[in-house]
């Protein structure tokens, strides 16, 4: 076993364990913390793939900004333990074995038919200069469109989360009347 495979397996096990923990935990704050663990492990995988800049952005934007937003909302709304709802028994009886069977089939097909050529770690480094070159020349229009999207999202979240008592603001006003 090469060092790369060992590192891949270590990060992968952490990621999958965090994802499963997200499902198992009943308190939202525990789910949020396990999602942060998943994102950190994924940034390790990006480093193994030679995408250093993506790995750094993953930690800064995803594990930093977005998850802080989630944790902030959880704390703000004082979210408690999730209530259990009873699911259908048929879904449990047929769904879980069917899901396991389907995922095993897909994994087998992917592992069998994708050949043996390996992803060379660090074969294609993603330096910020090359990425910026691509982003500001070839993908300039999508870049500008996403900036408009961000602007609309900012305005939308301000309108949505504003107090209903503000005149003309907030969709919650209608429900309260």
């Amino acid at each position: 076993m090469s060092v790369h495979l060992i590192l891949f397996l270590a990060f992968g096990i952490v990621a999958v364990a965090g994802a499963v923990n997200l499902l198992v935990q009943r308190h939202p704050i525990n789910s949020a913390l396990s999602l942060i663990a998943v994102m950190a492990a994924l940034s390790g995988e990006y480093l193994l793939l030679g995408a250093e800049f993506v790995a750094a952005v993953q930690v800064i934007v995803y594990a930093g900004a977005i998850m802080v937003l989630f944790v902030f909302v959880i704390m703000l709304l004082n979210a408690g333990v999730e209530e259990q709802t009873k699911g259908s028994r048929v879904a449990l009886l047929f769904g879980v074995p069917g899901m396991l069977l389907g995922s095993l089939l897909v994994a087998w097909v992917v592992l069998k038919h994708s050949g043996t050529e390996a992803v060379m770690a660090g074969a294609m480094p993603g330096p910020p200069k090359a990425i910026a070159d691509l982003l500001f020349h070839e993908f300039l229009l999508p870049f500008e469109i996403t900036s408009i999207l961000i602007l609309i999202a900012i305005m939308g979240s301000v309108v949505l989360a504003s107090k209903p008592s503000v005149p003309g603001g907030g969709p919650a006003k209608k429900v309260n009347d």
Binding site: H4, F8, G12, A15, V16, A19, V20, L22, L23, P28, S31, A32, L35, V38, L42, E45, L48, L49, G50, A51, V54, V57, Q58, V61, Y62, A65, I66, L69, F70, I74, L77, A79, E82, E83, T85, V106, A107, V110, L111, G115, E117, A118, V119, M120, A123, M124, G126, I131, T146, L149, I150, A153, G156, S157, L160, A161, P164, G170, A172, N176
Partner: protein
């Protein structure tokens, strides 16, 4: 050296965990986190394909996915705050105004 298929299987596992969380969770914030998990799984396959085919565009697309995820999280959490203000609950079973 790690084969490409290993990365794809890991990405598929993470996406499947996200779908499962989306379906079985009842807290609206946790459902949002499951969506983020799905996007992360997709990002992993983007980067793996970019490294495999030696095309840097895959990494650029990861940034677009991150931007969309950030916008979606901001708007979604604002909607959650608005819903909580009117319905006083985070349980998605009790937010059934549009149900027949």
């Amino acid at each position: 050296m790690v084969p490409l298929s290993y990365y794809l299987v890991l990405s598929g596992i993470l996406f499947a965990c996200g779908v499962t969380g989306f379906l079985i969770k009842r807290n609206i914030i946790t459902i949002f986190m499951s969506i983020e998990l799905m996007l992360n799984g997709v990002n992993l396959s983007f980067v793996a394909f970019a490294a495999h085919w030696h095309v840097l565009a895959g990494q650029v697309f990861v940034f677009f996915v991150m931007v969309v995820a950030a916008a979606e999280a901001a708007v979604g959490l604002a909607i959650i705050i608005a819903v909580y203000r009117t319905r006083e609950t985070l349980n998605i079973d009790q937010v059934n105004l549009l149900k027949l």
